[in-house]
């Protein structure tokens, strides 16, 4: 199949655009999570989005009597439980002697376990539109509708807009939290805003990528982008580009391969981008470091030898 044929197909176009938007938004906003060293909390949020997405499905089907898979309901539910899980983990770490990594594991298994129970309830019951509901686990980009695409693009754009509007505050809070507080910025408010944008970036991917692998979309592009750039705007932009292009290409590959969920393929593509960046970026990478070291060693050896012959 060539590219013209690929983009001529409505489903393929939706898959490509949908995953690219997710990759772009998650990559750009993930940069802040990366720089604040809070990458793993994204994993907790993503897993914990499952019960929220399923509760939204149940509410829509049983109470409202509408399509259970509508994107807006999913986003609202997933943001709610995702945020709750992060607050829960932080509360455990702040109020007990349990440390944050254990607290995150407790929160993750608790919320995800609840989600798996709900999944069982839904698949045992007779709810309209429940077929393929476990796509929320690993994602299925081929069920993205135009309405979904519009909603996730709008919500993702809103998150990116928030980032641009509060760019100065986010930057200051990320790199110098003390100065930011001294200058009178409200730390709690900025943290909440920043965290909300990251949660949004995570949950818009639930339908197409699934909750289990969403962490890769938030962590991998920033880690790759960091190897190529030294400025924050450069990093956010490059991370977004890596996320967007990697996701689009991964989606294309998964369609070419046939019966393969798009999420895992995209994750592997993103990982490949990261590996290349880590090993061979010209500025900071494993190979560059090794070359520098070898050169420095050689220079030192020569200097010592020269000193020896002078005497």
């Amino acid at each position: 199949m060539d590219l013209i044929e690929f983009f001529g197909n409505h489903t393929f176009r939706m898959v490509f655009l949908g995953t690219s938007v997710i990759g772009l938004v998650a990559g750009a906003l993930g940069s802040f999570a990366y720089l604040r060293r809070q990458s793993l909390i994204s994993d907790v949020v993503a897993h914990s989005a499952l019960p929220g997405a399923l509760l939204a499905f149940l509410t829509a089907v049983v109470v409202l009597g509408v399509n259970g898979r509508n994107m807006l309901g999913l986003i609202v539910g997933a943001v709610a439980t995702g945020t709750l899980s992060a607050l829960f983990a932080n509360a455990i770490a702040a109020r007990t002697k349990i440390r944050i990594d254990t607290a995150m594991a407790i929160s993750l298994t608790f919320f995800f376990g609840a989600g798996m129970l709900l999944l069982r309830v839904i698949s045992d019951g007779s709810f309209p539109g429940k077929g393929g509901i476990d796509d929320y686990l690993f994602g299925n980009a081929s069920v993205i509708t135009i309405a979904d695409l519009v909603t996730s693009t709008a919500v993702g754009a809103l998150a990116l807009l928030l980032m641009l509007v509060f760019w100065k505050e986010f930057t200051l809070r990320t790199f110098d939290p003390v100065l930011s507080t001294v200058l009178g910025f409200r730390a709690g408010l900025i943290d909440t805003l920043m965290f909300t944008t990251i949660v949004i970036a995570i949950v818009i991917g639930v339908k197409a990528v699934g909750v289990v692998l969403m962490i890769a979309f938030v962590v991998t592009p920033p880690a790759a982008a960091r190897q190529w750039t030294r400025t924050l705007p450069g990093m956010v932009a490059l991370s977004g580009v890596f996320g967007g292009i990697g996701s689009g290409f991964g989606a294309y590959l998964s369609i070419m391969l046939g019966n393969v969920p798009s999420g895992p393929v995209i994750v592997l593509v993103l990982f490949a981008i990261f590996l290349i960046s880590l090993l061979a970026s010209p500025r900071r990478s494993v190979i560059t470091t090794a070359l520098h070291r070898a050169r420095a060693r050689e220079a030192l050896r020569r200097a010592l030898l020269a000193e020896g012959t002078d005497r």
């Binding site: 990366y34 298994t109 376990g113 991998t220």
Partner: protein
């Protein structure tokens, strides 16, 4: 042995086998690394199954455990390069490995009949399906004996290396100064955790394995001040949780491992809340007051601490 007895025994043994090394995982702050291991063993299991066609084969267990160890060693390597900051190294490797595992499964690469669903939550009843019998008398599921063996190895490892584990866990620098090979010990311990994860995977799935490893130990950590006490309490909570989760799931016809994960989460919340209340009452009594009012009124010295501008959170010494 009846099916229900065999299966509930299996639940208890699996919980114990995971929870005991879990106590050290919690104390060594490796909980999220275990989350990585639990995801990363998947491709190892699928490839191992393609080669051995037996989920309980020792070759498969060791091979898949090596895939889990890849996350531990890769994490250390990424940190050493100095190119990736914060907790990101832990989040980079395991999604890629897990993704590879999922792709292997969906491509039906090895004809392993694993539903991706089962990968996440396991299936205790399916795991217990293959029964062993001696002279025509059923002696329980075959898998029970595999888990018993892992439990025995874990108990043996913890018993033999107890002093070393203790020193490296609580004072890593001191252990290094003493000349202990801390990295070797850490890697072997993580390998053992990985082996445990792989064997328990069948019954518990990725998510419950993490829950079993971390949460009983965390609950015990809340209310114990000595390592030996913590280990005993961890085992106790693991058994209670396994039985409760099993019977709740049985009564509600729900997935066993998901019920256990939720039950452990609720148990953690209950113990944390009770412990906090008890601490508050104790402190209030010591301050010269008595009665249930201590639950409702903030102790006076804590107010004073606040006015000093110091942290309102009670320090462990203050709680004592």
């Amino acid at each position: 042995m009846s099916f229900i007895l065999g299966t509930s025994l299996l639940a208890v043994v699996t919980a114990l086998a995971c929870a005991l090394p879990g106590a050290f995982v919690v104390l060594r702050r490796n909980a999220m690394l275990v989350e990585g291991i639990a995801h990363a063993v998947l491709p190892g299991i699928v490839v191992g199954y393609a080669l051995t066609h037996d989920l309980n084969s020792p070759w498969l267990i060791v091979g898949a455990a090596l895939a889990g160890l890849l996350v531990v060693l890769g994490n250390e390597w990424l940190i050493r390069t100095g190119l990736v900051t914060g907790d990101a190294p832990q989040g980079l490797l395991f999604p890629a490995l897990f993704a590879a595992g999922v792709i292997f499964i969906t491509l039906d690469f090895s004809h392993v009949h694993l539903h991706t669903h089962v990968v996440l939550v396991g299936d205790l009843n399916l795991a217990a399906f293959h029964q062993l019998s001696v002279n025509g008398v059923s002696i329980g599921p075959r898998y029970l004996y595999v888990m018993l063996a892992v439990l025995a190895v874990n108990v043996a490892f913890i018993t033999i290396f107890y002093p070393k584990l203790k020193v490296t866990t609580f004072d890593h620098q001191f252990a290094t100064v003493l000349g202990m090979r801390t990295r070797l010990l850490n890697t072997s311990f993580m390998f053992l955790v990985s082996v445990t994860v792989v064997t328990a995977f069948h019954a518990a799935g990725v998510i419950l394995v993490i829950s079993l490893l971390v949460v009983p130990a965390a609950i015990a950590h809340l209310i114990s001040r000595r390592l030996s006490v913590m280990l005993v309490l961890t085992a106790l909570f693991a058994v209670v949780g396994a039985l409760a989760g099993f019977w709740i799931a049985y009564a509600l016809n729900a997935a066993t491992s998901a019920s256990m994960a939720v039950f452990f989460g609720l148990l953690f919340i209950a113990v944390a809340v009770i412990d906090a209340l008890a601490t508050r009452v104790r402190r209030y009594r010591r301050a010269g007051h008595a009665g249930i009012k201590g639950l409702l009124v903030r102790p006076p010295h804590e107010e004073a601490e606040r006015l000093d501008g110091s942290s309102p959170a009670p320090s462990p010494q203050a709680a004592e």
